[in-house]
Symmetry: C2
Subunit: 315 residues, 2 copies
């Protein structure tokens, strides 16, 4: 991970210009190109064979995942995606049907969210398939939600259920585009991020950006059926709560808002999105760091913490 | 090439929406996001180890090439680049200094053209380095130059010198951003493209888009010193004219405009860009296809035509 920390360092000294509202470091870049009411959002992301999928993965799901990841980032700003460009790195030996299936996954998801696909480059990739997607979107200037902004006392919410995504959901998830936009339009969301690194890891991004801490109620964290099943059937699986905290690739929305809005939000959400779970999982605190509260009391949750944590399963 | 033809077919049925002025098939996608005077341009492109560079290539030049290719496409629309996002696929074993060098190449080129780098994702790439770059830019609605638009009688121009780029220039070329914008601002350019596939290949893209033909004057085609040197010193090298016609990766601008503007253009260009060659290399014709005119007369130049052509070197 040292190299990735280095990249983070490198990206801090990147060239900027007058159009940049927010550069590297949030879910999307935010640009002011002169539109009266909107900022422009820009995001790129790639999926690579052997990392994000295998050579056996259904081709259509590779296309779905590649575009879905970017749409999830647009959603996390409260934005609306407009257009995507795709670069496909193609090893020799892929046949027409397989390539068409990858594009099926791209096309279906794009159509569902009225995203135009406006460029489709291909290049040779001698040693394995990759798809790199860039998405441009828009967000109202007054409703652009960043990672920074969480305040002590805020309630912390998460959509959907967490953990066990590698069992299948990471290839089939529905990006929360409608939900992100609806949240930004109807509630004073203070900070938002999509969960790709895992609840604990991405919550820490919010905490660092806002210079605050958090306390999570372990019983309120929504654990997916997949994580529970994996814990039962696979001897090497994480305890379900740990899976929900650290598995990642959930592509759910994690956000904070004033605690007074928590109940109105839950009520309105049930009307608007009855099929999608929404959970209040904790609160933002003045201190730094991430703590867990369960029946035994309050304790620190450090790092990705798997080694430490797995010895004291709490659920 | 069958797979790439397939991709071309696939991309014709891509989802569109109201924002799309021009989708896949030109140098950049053109979007109308509601700006009064400008369209937004979007382009993505990737460079892959073993295809666009080798494991021995200087790291800084890899960064330069990756961004330069996209800037060249923005230039070919007459546009101005605004911001870029970069995905780096990183094999294990790359050290901090190497990564910093790649970013040096990106940073220096971006700074030179006032391009903000607003996102720097990294992902593992088990089998080889790749960089995928997406660039967003702007172009005046009245001066957005497409591939389509060449008219019979137009003069055909090309910037710089062609051929032999793989000897080194493909890693060091200067994208013609200033030149593309200046051309679009000062002359009624009918059609423009940047040369990546080679003069003959990219001219054919213009011809197909405009449903016209072309006649090139072989003596006017500017052949690079590198192509001439390669022909002298490497027994397997192409004849220089063939290299200029088919080598590719020149990243020069190829464009057409009314023949009455040819002399005024050459005069103004010499004032504006005294260090950069500009050559009138032929004319657009009513018929279809690409013909070459030399001392022996007029003849077809078919396909990439290497096998056929190499048996009758014309220079």
């Amino acid at each position: 991970m040292k190299e990735f920390e280095l990249i983070e360092l490198l990206t801090r000294s990147l060239p900027a210009n007058d159009s940049v509202v927010l550069g590297a470091g949030d879910d999307c870049a935010v640009l002011d190109l002169g539109l009266r009411e909107d900022f422009v959002l820009l995001k790129t992301d790639a999926v690579v064979e052997g990392v994000h999928f295998t050579s056996a993965t259904e081709r259509e799901k590779i296309g779905h995942k590649a575009l879905g990841r970017c749409l999830s980032d647009i959603a996390a700003m409260g934005g609306t995606p407009s257009a995507a460009v795709i670069t496909v790195g193609l090893p020799s030996g892929y046949n027409a049907e397989e390539i068409n299936s990858i594009y099926d996954g791209l096309r279906k998801l794009a159509t569902r969210y009225n995203v135009a696909i406006v460029g489709g480059e291909t290049t040779q990739a001698p040693s394995g398939l990759f798809l790199s997607v860039a998405v441009i979107g828009r967000v109202s200037k007054s409703r652009c939600i960043r990672r920074a902004g969480a305040k002590a006392g805020d309630a912390i919410f998460v959509t959907g259920e967490l953990g066990g995504s590698l069992g299948g959901r990471h290839l089939e998830f529905e990006p929360r585009v409608e939900q992100g936009r609806w949240l930004a339009e109807h509630f004073a969301i203070h900070a938002m991020i999509d969960i790709s690194d895992g609840l604990a890891g991405d919550l820490r991004h919010l905490l660092r950006a806002g210079d605050v801490g958090a306390e999570l109620f372990t019983r309120s964290i929504p654990i997916s059926r997949a994580a529970k099943l994996q814990a039962k059937t696979e001897s090497s699986a994480k305890p379900p709560l740990l899976a929900a905290l650290t598995d990642g690739e959930d592509f759910e929305l994690l956000f904070t808002l004033p605690s007074a809005s928590a109940v109105p939000l839950l009520d309105a959400w049930k009307q608007q999105f009855p099929a999608i779970k929404l959970s209040c999982i904790g609160k933002i605190t003045k201190g730094q760091g991430l703590k867990l509260r369960d029946a035994q009391g309050l304790r620190d949750f450090s790092g990705t913490g798997y080694e430490h944590f797995s010895k004291k399963p709490v659920s």
